[in-house]
């Protein structure tokens, strides 16, 4: 499974890429592979407050609806509109075209406390 070196990871299989005070959030290659056949993404609302470890979005595969947890505290500033027409981008491009939402971090140091690529690789075995 692909675990890029430039991202931080949550134990619940989300990734975050921090640039300045903004973080882009998605689910990992491992997570999309486990879910398979993603058919719908229910994004958070722009402007919504999200809390680390709390459900922020829902990703639906054929078999189940899965909560996606925000890795950090902050405010949603953008969502990936491309997913409403093409949710399978989460499967085909989990780290690029399949990102879920962007959040303005209320505490930018929070991301550093997430898992490193090495730790996440160890977690998923």
């Amino acid at each position: 499974m692909n675990v890029p070196d430039n991202l931080r990871y949550a134990e619940t299989h989300e990734w975050i890429k921090v640039e300045g005070d903004t973080g882009t959030v998605g689910i990992t290659d491992h997570a999309q592979n486990e879910l398979t056949d993603i058919v719908f993404v229910d994004p958070p609302k722009i402007g919504a407050a999200v809390t680390a470890g709390q459900a922020a979005a829902v990703v639906e595969s054929v078999k189940a609806a899965s909560d996606i947890y925000s890795p950090v505290d902050g405010e949603v500033v953008e969502i990936n509109d491309a997913l409403s027409g093409n949710p399978s981008l989460v499967n085909t491009s989990p780290y690029d075209g399949g990102w879920l939402f962007k959040v303005r971090l209320s505490n930018p140091s929070q991301a550093a406390a997430l898992k490193s690529p090495e730790d996440y690789r160890a977690q998923i075995g």
């Binding site: 486990e34 398979t36 056949d37 058919v39 719908f40 229910d42 829902v58 639906e60 595969s61 054929v62 078999k63 189940a64 609806a65 409403s84």
Partner: protein
């Protein structure tokens, strides 16, 4: 903790990449590669499902037919030898204990194929009512089963057994490695196909032979989307001890003209007084998340029921589901809304089934 059961094929399937879930106490493959791929394989080519979790209960003896006529809702006298019949075990209130297929192996010898999660309850119910001249034998633990389904199933049947696949709803006794294999042209997908029931020792060999003949291994995920497109009910979701087959829209499988079967009085009374609800097919008419079980169903903002099953239909690429609605609303083209995480999405009552396999369209 509850014991988790595994079929004989579990290790083989796990090493072939199966992702597993707990289904009624059984850890079973939900998918091998992708539910959508497996679904399409069954609709266009052929797929194979391990259904060894299901229960095989044999009923025989001089009084077997009369006793089963008392225990089951459909008219078994209309099922010829080597035939199969869909039927119900009902409680005294007319509620569904289980839905099952009866295979008539001889005049006085029957195989009951029952749901995995209901084996113990069914057998206990049957034993409680057991009469003279009837022998009941639960072989669920020593038998395995495969369902081979799809337009290519007839070719695979020919390759495996050197014989033509019989017409729908037939059961044939075949031999393989000097063991008895029951081959039945039944299934839960709507496609042509067959199901095999055999001793556990044959499982690995038959599974591999079916794969070698070109069938795609399929899990319970595709089994669920395939059956839902056909509006075949799943007991425990769409059927329950609190709902009758009449409410489920399955009255055609209940022989009310047959005297003295368990639940008949309650069904007659319900027919007289009017059904409290009817199980309908719902199709989403606006873009939204696929429906799942237990979502509220509303009409003009007022709750009128809840979904019992739901999925994205891989054949239609639309959300589909079933729900019990008041009879006045249970009419095709009735507009409803489905409440998904607090938002209301438009759906409509559809005529059943959602999907008609090509084998039916041609007929």
């Amino acid at each position: 903790m509850e014991t988790v059961h595994h079929t004989i094929l579990f290790d083989l399937q796990k090493s072939a990449g199966a992702r597993c879930i707990n289904f009624g106490g059984w850890e079973m493959p939900v998918q091998f590669t992708s539910i959508i791929d497996e679904h399409q394989a069954v609709r266009t080519s052929c797929g194979v499902f391990d259904i060894s979790h299901m229960g095989e209960v044999f009923v025989s003896g001089s009084e077997a037919l009369d006793w089963l006529q008392h225990m089951l809702a459909n008219d078994l006298a209309k099922c010829p030898v080597n035939g199969a019949q869909y039927t119900f075990l009902l409680n005294e209130r007319g509620g569904v204990i289980d839905d099952l297929i009866v295979y008539r192996l001889a005049e006085d010898n029957f195989l009951l194929l029952v749901n995995a999660a209901k084996i113990e309850e069914d057998v206990a119910w049957l034993e409680k009512h057991l009469g003279e001249g009837v022998t009941l034998e639960n072989r669920s633990d020593t038998m395995s089963a495969l369902a081979v389904q799809g337009p290519q199933a007839a070719r695979i049947y020919r390759e495996l057994f050197g014989a033509e696949m019989p017409a729908r709803n037939q059961v044939t006794a075949l031999h393989r490695c000097s063991a008895l294999v029951l081959a039945a042209t039944t299934g839960y997908t709507g496609e042509p196909g067959f199901e095999l029931f055999f001793p556990n020792a044959l499982a690995a060999d038959l599974w591999q032979s079916v794969l070698n003949a070109g069938a795609k291994p399929c899990g319970l995920g595709a089994r669920d989307t395939l059956r839902l497109e056909m509006c075949y009910p799943l007991n425990g979701s769409d059927l329950s001890p609190e709902r009758t087959p009449l409410e489920a829209g399955l009255g055609v499988f209940v022989a009310l003209d047959k005297p003295g079967f368990i639940g008949r009085e309650a069904l007659l009374a319900q027919k007289e007084s009017g059904l409290p609800a009817l199980l309908v097919a719902l199709r989403m008419t606006e873009k939204g998340p696929p429906p799942r079980a237990h979502y509220p169903v509303l009409v003009e903002g007022q709750p009128v029921g809840e979904t019992t099953s739901g999925a994205l239909s891989p054949s239609l690429n639309e959300g589909i589901g079933m729900a019990y609605l008041p009879p006045a609303l249970a009419k095709p083209s009735q507009a409803v809304q489905i409440d998904i995480r607090g938002r209301h999405f438009a759906a409509v009552v559809e005529k059943k089934p959602f999907y008609r396999p090509s084998s039916y369209r041609a007929a």
